[in-house]
Amino acid sequence: MKIIYTDVLIIGGGLAGLRVATGVKERGHDAVVLTLVPPKRSHSAAAQGGMQASLANSKMGEGDNEDVHFSDTIKGSDWGADQMVARMFTHCAPKAIRELAHWGVPWSRVKKGNRTAIINAKKVTITEKEDAHGLITARDFGGTKKWRTCYTSDGTGHSMLFAMDNKAHEDKVEIHERQEAIALIHNNGRCYGAVSRNLMTGELTAYISKATTIATGGYGRIYSVSTNAVICEGIGQAIALESGVATLGNMEAIQFHPTAIVPVGILTTEGCRGDGGLLLDKDGYRFMPDYEPDKKELASRDVVSRRMTEHMRKGKGVKSRYGDHLWLDITILGREHIEKNLREVKEICESFLGIDPAVDWIPVRPTQHYSMGGIRTKYTGESQTLKGLYSCGEAACWDMHGFNRLGGNSVSETVVGGMLVAEYISDFCDSKDSDIKIHSSTIEKFMKKEQDKIDELLSNENGEDAYKLRRRMEEIMMEDVGIFRNGNDLKKAVDELEELLKRSKNIEVFRSKSKAANPALVNAYRTQKMLKVALTVAQGAYLRTESRGAHSREDYPKRDDANWLKRTITSWEDENQTLPTVTYEEIDISTMELPPGFRGYGKDLTEHHKYTKVRQEIVDDKIKELQEKGASRFEIQDALMPFIDKLPKKYRGINERLGENV
């Protein structure tokens, strides 16, 4: 039996995982990163448009700060987010971006003087301040009050990931490539690492650690059309679920991005609309102002995706053999802007559509994009139920996104979550609590169990075809657990997925019996895991009889704070279960800095909680009282919902901005 010991095991080599690795290294702990692919190929690289951080350097970002970023994030989440976590996040985002600048990310910079921009289909001149020259600039993104999304052209994720991986090289982080964690090793409510399969040789290794971090990204690939990379299959969430101890949060909260190209589902960044691009229907008509007169194309993602779908349902979509779509028009931005700031989009249009976006309109439709749900953690990133297991980035439900994530908040979360969780993990590793107390026979038991499962898949005869089960699951998720949901379809989806799960116990790996590199075997065991993840999504969506953020029930169109201001928690205690166990975690209004309100899109359909008004009055009175006393915004914030003492000491400082705290 091969065993590798380390202090911190990190599963996933994207932005979040690498940031945890460098963070714990700096604190003197050993770290091993397990990754399916070379870290620089992780899905983080595909984030095009940018990273939100309230630097307020650019003219259109003036007046921005943590408070505005916080308020945008909470409204965006439809009040589903954990407000303390969102506060910690917005406080640290400027620190994370400055850290990345120090490590080499070539952030696009403010250039003093006049420049032309397109706002609401009109050319406007923006004059950038002299004293902001050379600082990090920002563009507009959906659902934000200020231009806050910092970027490097439209290769933001790529530049961040390369800088982060290079930093990991510098820090001599151990990276074990083409390793797939297939089960967590745990004992008495404590996680001690994972069983990992080498995808090249098939060899199993037990990685034993004081702390284990899952940073494997989202689970978009349970849907048939997703912008996600093909490795975003939810295996991280699945192994947490299969532990029977760790829990998942809000799995039904799935974001659809408005503008993925048709038919392949590759993303064109929100930066297209942020920079002034328009959505047009089959008649070339700009329809978004009719639905959302205020924010138009730059309403929150969930809103734009629903409006697009509504408009297509009215027969206004462009017919194609791949179904209806709409147009994204960025021709008005001009060739120079497209070739400089939307270069990746241009390449994608050329390579996959054979069109020139400086001349042609881009065929787009809403497509599965982001997983707000994930491994449920405390604010420290530690699982609420399995000690020693941590998670951050898209893999986790930390929970700063609630039921809808703002564009630009995802890569931002990866690095902020990573830097914070690295500190909490290091504190844990420094304590006596982290001692490894697991018997080798227990480790052996976990290893044997996984080896047996693989042997069974390879030796099964007359079994099911994993590809068929998987494709059916993907279709069900797309058709019945999509943008608009209803009870009948969801029930049908749950029933059929449950049936598929039962059938998946009898998968046979056809025509490919190698124990080493074997894509068919990989697909077989991943399909078994993905079905469980799909069931947590479908079941969570079926039971949540309200509409909140990206979860939109046609039969329950109201956001129902009275009954549903809570997180869905799913678990899988018994491996013979065929449906997840579902419980709920209340979201406490009495601690909220920003009590539930109206997001400002369409008609207000909120069923308010009886305590909302009470809390609002307390908050208003407090603000008034402190303002009269001349309190600073920091003092007011602290009085409403203190969070600073939760942060690691090194990240508690006040952020400098032009004209503030400098």
Binding site: R41, A46, H102, H133, G134, G155, H169, P519
Partner: protein, 246 residues
């Protein structure tokens, strides 16, 4: 993309070999599939794996031309398979793994290991012992044009196409290749990296570095990101000669 014509039958010939199977030897295998509208090699290869041969090995991650995983020889030329439309190719297509990298099996290669070695050798990170990072302070300023210029070189996706297209590396296996020289040019340009010309010279001022290039420039021809490799190699040469003359 909306043209409905009679679909072509594609013959996809793949150079196959499983180094983990003692009885296997490198051989060509052909698969016939029907072409679909907008089909890329990503779609075609997945169809072959799903319906013809479950054991076929290849590497796709983003399938959008962003991550650099799927470089292979398409009709003898190194390129990213995911964004290669079959419509732009003959009905008879030949695929082989990228040469020079360790073979995992079939079209799957271990570029990650090679690139990691390169990055460690060239220390492709910001070297700055002077400035302590202070996360609360305003970031260091940079001229907007310079940031754009650095990003231009930072766009490399480490796909390995330039390595496969390099004549020099065939003869000098330790040659850093265009990917390496581009990285050196990127850090040389970046004022945040405090390494001196002399230090860069120590690293690449030899036959395995900037003076090894035979200027065949296959690298620039095949770079999927259109990086200015030719001019950057020439620029680094001038800089390194200047450093050597000091």
């Amino acid at each position: 993309m909306n043209k409905d014509t009679n679909p072509r039958e594609l013959t996809i010939n793949i150079l196959r070999f499983d180094p983990h199977d003692e009885n296997d030897f490198p051989h060509m295998e052909s698969f016939k599939i029907q072409e679909a509208d907008g089909m890329t090699l990503f779609v075609a290869l997945n169809e072959i794996r799903e319906h013809h041969d479950n054991s076929l090995k290849f590497d796709f991650v983003c399938r959008a031309g962003i991550c650099g995983s799927c470089s292979m020889l398409v009709n003898g030329r190194p390129t990213l398979a995911c964004r290669t439309l079959t419509a732009k190719l003959d009905a008879n297509i030949t695929l082989a793994p990228l040469p020079l990298f360790e073979l995992i099996g079939d079209l799957s290669i271990y570029t990650g290991k090679w690139m990691r070695g390169l990055n460690e050798r060239l220390e492709t990170w910001i070297h700055d012992k002077e400035n302590e990072l202070e996360v609360d302070k305003l970031e260091e300023r940079m001229e907007p044009e310079l940031a754009d210029e650095i990003y231009e070189l930072d766009r490399c996706v480490e796909c390995g196409c330039c390595v496969a297209g390099c004549g020099t590396i065939q003869m000098k296996p330790d040659f850093v290749g265009a990917v390496g020289l581009n990285k050196v040019a990127r850090y040389h340009l970046d004022p945040r990296d405090k390494r001196t010309d002399e230090e860069f010279y120590e690293m690449v001022g030899d036959e395995d570095g900037v003076f090894g290039c035979m200027t065949l420039l296959g690298c620039e021809d095949v770079c999927p990101k259109d990086l200015p490799l030719q001019s950057k190699i020439a620029y680094m040469r001038r800089m390194m000669i200047k450093a050597a003359m000091k």
